[in-house]
């Protein structure tokens, strides 16, 4: 049995905090996958948001990936996972030597992540609209076992919100006040039809706590991630450069 988990309010000692020197290495790690030192806005749309989340907020380390009391991060938008793999490698979840194999038959790192193959990946994703419902179930499952400490985070893309399954999940989570649930929306204006009134308004109308920030501003991301939201699930909408810019 794993010893009882003691919730803390900050990052664990195992995760260096505010390490923007660490952030600087991510481009090189992504280069191991792409063979290129330069990456366009689409490939890096999640990079800053993921880094700040793993570096300063999530209480999970390579040593605690099986700890039932760990925080969970579910990458729902499995497309373009290079930034995710780079962050996991930088944090030591798997060796950076895996990265050059990206997408190869014998590589655990596919163009969509598989939780059975990637240490630290909480779900396998790629088909859009599965992460938020799985995250709701994860919050409910932890609560049913009296584990109120762990936070559950799920990353979705703005176009991914086209999928109706997300709206089943966000409506239910808002109505039932699942305050251990956190959604990070990376908004790179990739939805063809957009959303009249904006993404945040959809969540707000469903009863969520809402923050909208510049998805490249690490301080603003951290503040939005850690804003209190008693009794309500929390969404952070991180705006980045438009996909087609």
């Amino acid at each position: 049995m794993t010893p009882p988990y003691t919730p803390t309010t900050g990052p664990t000692a195992a995760v260096p905090s505010g390490d923007d020197d660490g952030f600087a290495q991510l481009t090189g790690l992504m280069g191991l996958m792409t063979g290129d030192e330069k990456h366009g806005p689409a490939a890096t749309s999640t990079l800053d948001a993921l880094w700040v989340l793993y570096d300063r907020v999530l209480r999970v380390t390579p040593d605690t990936v099986q700890d039932p009391g760990r925080d969970r991060f579910l990458l729902s938008k499995g497309h373009g996972p290079m930034a995710y793999y780079a962050v996991l490698a930088a944090k030591g979840f798997f060796p950076s030597a895996w990265l050059p194999g990206f997408g190869a038959y014998a590589s655990p790192l596919g163009h969509h992540p598989d939780r059975e193959l990637v240490p630290g990946a909480e779900i396998g994703s790629g088909s859009l609209g599965h992460g938020l419902p799985l995250a709701v179930g994860t919050v409910l499952g932890l609560r049913a076992q009296d584990r109120t400490g762990p936070a559950v985070w799920v990353l979705v893309g703005d176009a991914e919100l086209d999928e109706g399954s997300n709206h089943e999940a966000l409506a239910y989570a808002g109505a039932t006040g699942l305050d251990r649930l956190h959604t990070l929306v990376i908004d790179n204006s990739s939805a063809t039809h957009g959303r009249r009134g904006g993404i945040a308004a959809r969540f707000e109308a469903a009863g969520w706590s809402v923050a909208s920030v510049d998805g490249r501003d690490h301080g603003a991301l951290h503040a939005a991630y850690t804003a209190p939201h008693p009794g309500r699930p929390h969404v952070v909408v991180a705006r980045v450069e438009p996909k087609d810019a």
Partner: protein, 301 residues
């Protein structure tokens, strides 16, 4: 006699008391049966509203935290509508759970085709590793539900129906049972199709095998029945789409020449309402229809 669904609610409510790992997820349908259990175990009885994609996704999420989810609604809304969730949120995530359906192929004929799901087992056959139980009586349903709840992290589908046999048989959650010995062939009756099969074949020289667990398919029992009958003519009568298990019969007998007749629900919509027995007759699955198809098959040899 209670219905299979009533037994499901009663048994699962007791299992919630006994097993802290169990959790029930509903999408409005069937919630009244769990009202007491929801009061006793508010964290482990969840009603997500009329949201079937969320029903299955929540089940997968619960399983990711180590719980054993039991999901229930009508078969069409449990397996067909959120099929990709069943495929990915359980199978691809590598987690298990118990899916318990009601309604079957035409339990509510007056409700029309929107509430009929004869393709449920066939759909699950496109996926790996699902156990499929098809009880023919509420007592069998109770036994099979208990097996399903206790089956570790297995993926299990339990297909409940209002069509039932007059008496329960002892079931073990795995094997087919020989009920009668004959010499002209073997009839494999699935769940609630047993009574119509027995009525149709009463005076025919046929072996009858009874199955309530169809996946995995008990090929050894079928081969033994074929050996004992001394005939490789096999008829399988299923309460869902005709031919669903014909492939499994063929694989069981791949080492010998054989003939298979797969009977079950037709693909064509009848576009009729009415009663269950009228739909059985409409698909040729009443005793008279079965007898005609089975004797025709045997005589064609």
């Amino acid at each position: 006699m209670d219905t299979m669904r009533e037994r499901f609610a009663a048994v699962t409510s007791r299992l919630l008391d006994e097993d802290p790992r169990l959790a029930v997820v509903l999408a409005e349908i069937g919630k009244d049966g769990f009202a007491d259990a929801a009061q006793k175990h508010p964290g482990r009885v969840v009603n997500v509203g009329i949201r079937e994609q969320l029903l299955v996704g929540v089940g997968g999420g619960l399983a990711l935290t180590g719980l054993r989810p039991v999901l229930h609604t009508f078969a069409g809304f449990l397996v067909e509508r959120p099929f990709e969730q069943v495929k990915l949120d359980f199978g691809h995530q590598g987690v298990g759970g118990v899916l318990v359906s009601a309604g079957g192929s035409y339990d509510w004929p007056a409700g029309g085709f929107t509430h009929m799901a004869p393709g449920d087992v066939g759909l699950l056959d496109t996926l790996d590793g699902w156990t499929v139980h098809v009880p023919g009586h509420p007592d069998e349903a109770e036994t099979l539900l208990r097996h399903a709840a206790a089956a570790g992290d297995d993926k299990v589908y339990v297909r409940l129906s209002v069509q039932v046999n007059a008496v329960p048989r002892p079931v073990d959650g795995a094997r087919f049972q020989p009920l009668r010995q004959g010499g002209r062939g073997v009839v494999l009756a699935i769940g609630p199709m047993l009574d119509p099969v027995l009525a149709a074949t009463r005076d025919l020289d046929l072996s009858v095998l009874y199955a309530t667990t169809v996946r995995p398919f008990d090929a050894a029992a079928l081969r033994a029945a074929v050996d004992a009958a001394g005939s490789t003519d096999v008829v399988i009568v299923e309460p869902y789409l005709a031919g669903t298990s014909t492939r499994q019969v063929n694989e069981a007998l791949e080492d010998r020449p054989h003939r298979v007749l797969g009977l079950g629900v037709g693909r064509r919509e009848l576009r009729r309402y009415g009663q269950l027995d009228e739909h059985l007759a409409g698909h040729g699955l009443d005793a008279r229809g079965l007898r005609g198809r089975i004797t025709g098959f045997l005589d064609a040899r």
